[in-house]
């Protein structure tokens, strides 16, 4: 996977041979360089900081656990990135995860087999994304309102179909998914890596990706050139829903049960990761690696603070401070 790309918050570019390239010193003095690389710099900074203060942090076991813990958020951040790239926002993301989990649990409990349950969960969350997209484009309702509405609607639906009760999912397949590993990484980490690769290719190496950024950047201009901006937006929300389904599978595998409880920190952290990743909330500018690294950074932050025995009271404060700091740095982005 080539890291620097046209729209990635990356300065050096392959293939721009005859064009002038700024010197390294000039690069380091340019605030927009730091803005573009905020999530990487932040992650490296955290790793150094925690590595010095708490050696356990850099142990192989902890790094593996950290990646495992980050997998769900990485997948969700990717979904959120596609939506934010169209200058939208998906507030129903965490609720969709909950519904996906509940459906997975119920279908599995009904004896349809865990694979069918996973498939149906992903289908359901993708359908929610599709619905969001259709309401926003065809219904001409602001994204904020639509996804807030579906957030509430899905919450109710999840409670209704689950009866408010958690469902145990004692599937060996899911247990293996959660605890097994291939090479150095657990399966959930591989799922997240696969999601990053596929999303990166979709964003930078397909017509859809360019049209997505064009739609997010200047929808009217994109439409004037014949890009079907409504379809692009619907696709972005559907991708977000699809990612929520994948996250739901990882979630159920991790906690062993499907619960009609919404984890609001997943939603907030997905937006935070997107911001940390240098994606413009006004659309048109996005990357996949940025938010993925942002998600890693947020997870590393909580992991490190836990290892350092910092009170749980300070942890949200630290996350909030970092997100606001990142947003301030983004102002230097050109």
């Amino acid at each position: 996977m080539s890291l620097p790309t046209d729209n990635a918050p990356a300065v050096p570019r392959a293939g721009a041979t005859e064009e002038s390239r700024p010197s390294l010193a000039a690069l380091l003095l340019d605030p927009s360089f730091w803005a573009d690389w905020a999530s990487v710099v932040g992650l490296v900074g955290l790793v150094i900081l925690f590595g010095i203060t708490q050696p356990v942090f850099l142990s192989v076991a902890n790094l593996q656990a950290l990646l495992l813990a980050a997998a769900i958020l990485v997948v969700l951040s990717i979904g959120q990135t596609f939506v934010v790239a169209t200058s939208g926002i998906d507030l129903s993301l965490a609720a969709a995860v909950m519904l996906g989990a509940v459906i997975l649990g119920l279908v599995n409990a009904a004896g349809w087999g865990v694979l069918a349950a996973c498939l149906l969960a992903v289908l359901a969350t993708s359908a929610i994304g599709l619905l969001n997209g259709v309401l926003i484009t065809a219904g001409r309702i602001p994204d904020f309102v639509v996804t807030l509405g579906t957030l509430s609607g899905i919450t109710g639906l999840g409670l209704i179909i689950s009866g408010g009760e958690p469902t145990m999912v004692g599937s060996t397949f899911l247990l293996k998914l959660a605890s097994g590993s291939f090479g150095p990484f657990g399966y959930p980490v591989w799922v997240a890596i696969a999601a990053v690769v596929v999303a990166h290719i979709a964003l930078y190496h397909t017509r859809f990706g360019v049209h997505l950024l064009a739609t997010g950047g200047q929808a009217e201009s994109a439409a004037a050139l014949g890009i079907r901006t409504n379809r692009v937006k619907i696709a972005a929300y559907t991708i977000s829903g699809f990612c929520a389904g994948i996250a739901a599978i990882l979630l159920v595998a991790r906690i062993g049960s499907a619960e009609p409880q919404i984890n609001t920190s997943l939603l907030l952290n997905s937006v935070a990761a997107v911001v940390l990743g240098g994606v413009s909330l006004f659309g048109g500018r996005a990357s996949i690696l940025g938010p993925a690294i942002g998600a890693l950074m947020l997870t590393a932050l909580v992991n490190g603070l836990t290892l350092l025995s910092v009170s749980a009271f300070y942890q949200p404060l630290a996350v909030g401070a970092i997100v606001v700091l990142a947003a301030l740095i983004m102002r230097y982005q050109k």
Binding site: G15, R207, S221, L225
Partner: protein, 254 residues
């Protein structure tokens, strides 16, 4: 001054007859005849509200005329949307330029006609080919931008206009339609864009130009059409007219 032709010359790339367009009860224009010759720059002038922008929008498929016929390249059209017109070979340089700030010059030049490589069932962008071709397109028209990987956001108004025109001309268009291409530009940038339009004509691309600037119209175009109050009132060869005559035609003082 010659009368408005009713019959199209044989070398017309675009010809329309008896064209009219209404919006509800409001008449945009009626019974308009108009031709653009192949390889020429054809200008349409007129006061604000004379109907020239609506006429152009009918020609490129944004609006559908209520009556009359349009022939493009010898075949009857109307196009039901700009995409069809584009596919047939009519490119439009929009007044708002339709450039995406956050995309690069190369991405803008190939927007919605990206070059792809097929890999199995997947179509991946051929970014290298697009960059190379983008450079070639720009150098063919002597357009100067720092790099094709530069984001459009960082370009000047003149450079953006040039990119926009380059995109319109670059796709092998037979006819490029420009709506006030220099309206927002400074003196030097206007001169650059005019040079670009001349270059297009040298390369055999037909151009329809809407402008308020009579001097520019006389400098750039071969044939000038004059609209007034929803009617096509006159057409003159640019070489045979004067600024005063154009003013008189536009205002109806003649």
């Amino acid at each position: 001054m010659s009368a408005v032709h009713r019959t199209a010359p044989a070398d017309a790339i675009l010809a329309c007859e008896g064209l009219s367009k209404h919006f509800g009860g409001i008449r945009a224009f009626t019974d308009v005849g108009f031709q653009a010759r192949r390889g020429e720059v054809t200008a349409v002038i007129g006061d604000n509200g004379a109907g020239k922008s609506t006429l152009i929008r009918c020609l490129v498929g944004v609006h559908q005329p209520d009556g009359g016929t349009i022939h493009f390249d010898g075949r009857p059209h109307p196009f039901s949307n700009p995409d069809e017109a584009r596919k047939a070979g009519i490119e439009t340089v929009h007044q708002n330029l339709a450039l995406i700030d956050e995309l690069t010059v190369a991405q803008n030049l190939f927007l919605n006609r990206e070059i792809v490589r097929r890999i199995g069932p997947f179509a991946l962008l051929d970014r290298k080919a697009m960059k190379t071709q983008a450079r070639a397109m720009l150098s063919r028209l002597s357009i100067n931008v720092p790099s094709v990987t530069q984001r459009v956001r960082r370009l000047s108004g003149g450079q953006r206009q040039a990119i926009s025109i380059c995109r319109a001309a670059g796709s092998g268009a037979k006819l490029v339609v420009m709506d006030e291409p220099t309206a927002a530009l400074g003196v030097q940038e206007t001169a650059n864009v005019e040079a670009l339009i001349r270059k297009l004509r040298e390369q055999g691309v037909s151009v329809i130009l809407i402008s308020h600037n009579f001097d520019q119209v006389r400098r750039l175009s071969d044939q000038i059409w004059v609209m007034r109050a929803g009617k096509m009132v006159a057409t003159v060869r640019a070489s045979e007219t004067t600024g005063n005559e154009l003013v008189a035609l536009v205002t109806g003082a003649a």
